[in-house]
Symmetry: C2
């Protein structure tokens, strides 16, 4: 199977996760509204932005070198812009959860989910800056070792971001105190699996580029 075929699976699981997430937040939960007086509607911006805005765009950015047609310079530009958009939308998602915590008088950043999430997000910011300075500012081409390091760190950060998403879904389903047989529980689990498979296929797509 070609690298492009593998990235097709990544798109598929990514879009599936977005659909499942929307069904969950709009049908089973309270809906999504950053400016609501209902804290839960504010909170729901968080999972939507952290996956749809952040992880999905980061994954698409990682695959841009396979999926975007045209010159290498165009691919690089799409890769950089998608990552920047992801970071901006990720900040909106983080603001939403801090706003919810303020509204509900909940302590910030104490759970494993939040530690992994905040840590990963800060490292993503550094990785973006490193990438911008090294690859986007005109000058002599970066050595292969630097490219390889950038790619390895990027893959590790995507992996950590998926871990943050999975622990987040796990934490939320525990807070909701759902019963094992409830449909909503299954929906959350399938969303988690779709996110996991998105991460796995993005990684495959990048790995197989070297061999396709």
């Amino acid at each position: 199977m070609s690298s492009l075929g593998i990235s097709g699976f990544a798109h598929l699981f990514g879009v599936l996760a977005i659909i499942l997430l929307l069904v969950w937040l709009l049908h089973y939960r309270e809906g999504i509204d950053f400016d609501s007086d209902n804290g839960f509607r504010v909170f729901n911006v968080h999972p939507l932005m952290m996956f749809t805005g952040f992880i999905f765009l980061v994954g698409e950015a990682a695959m841009a070198f396979e999926t975007v047609p045209g010159l290498r310079q165009t691919k690089k530009f799409v890769h950089m812009t998608l990552h920047l958009t992801a970071i901006i939308l990720g900040i909106v998602g983080l603001c939403a959860v801090f706003k919810f915590h303020d509204m509900a008088h909940i302590v910030n950043v104490y759970s494993l989910h939040s530690w992994i999430g905040i840590g990963t997000f800060c490292l993503f910011g550094l990785q973006w800056l490193f990438g911008f300075v090294t690859f986007m500012i005109p000058g002599p081409s970066a050595p292969t070792r630097t490219r390889m390091l950038h790619r390895a760190f990027g893959k590790a950060l995507l992996f950590m971001a998926v871990c943050a998403a999975e622990t987040g879904l796990m934490e939320k389903s525990s807070f909701l105190n759902l019963k094992p047989h409830q449909r909503e529980y299954h929906l959350i689990n399938f969303t988690g699996l779709a996110i996991l498979l998105f991460g796995v296929f993005v990684d495959f797509s990048i790995n197989f580029r070297n061999f396709a």
Copy 2:
């Protein structure tokens, strides 16, 4: 930094995670005993075996080609044997959680953690069988593409196993209803971070082998 230096970090975080896990289970929790009448002591076999027995050994097996001296045949044998041991200890860990669920009349395999965990474990069994048939049975050497597929699947499975561990720690810390400022919560979080970094450095160690 050489590939061997990177695997040093993996060992470090792996051993750190084992120590933190033991402090948690023996000091903060009820202790560890598969044959106890106390269901929680039985349950505690599960996290210990799934990380120390399974994930840690799988990671060490993945790095065996760098870390074990000697002939390629010796490295392959260590790689295969460590994986087999990991699967056997993993089965003990799975039996422990099923026994605990029976004792406490809890439904099996309903949470995101259990879905990811069971799925990953079954795929690991298939991957071991595939690896054994393809690489250990004497015959013509497997093509590069097959080796590369085996490695990519192995890395994806390690990533999924780490996700299972993180969601497991998240689920348990929610069940325990710990307060944000409690030391035990921080201990669990640091254990989760050590496991995550173990996974990241094992992956780095394998990736950098090609370039070191």
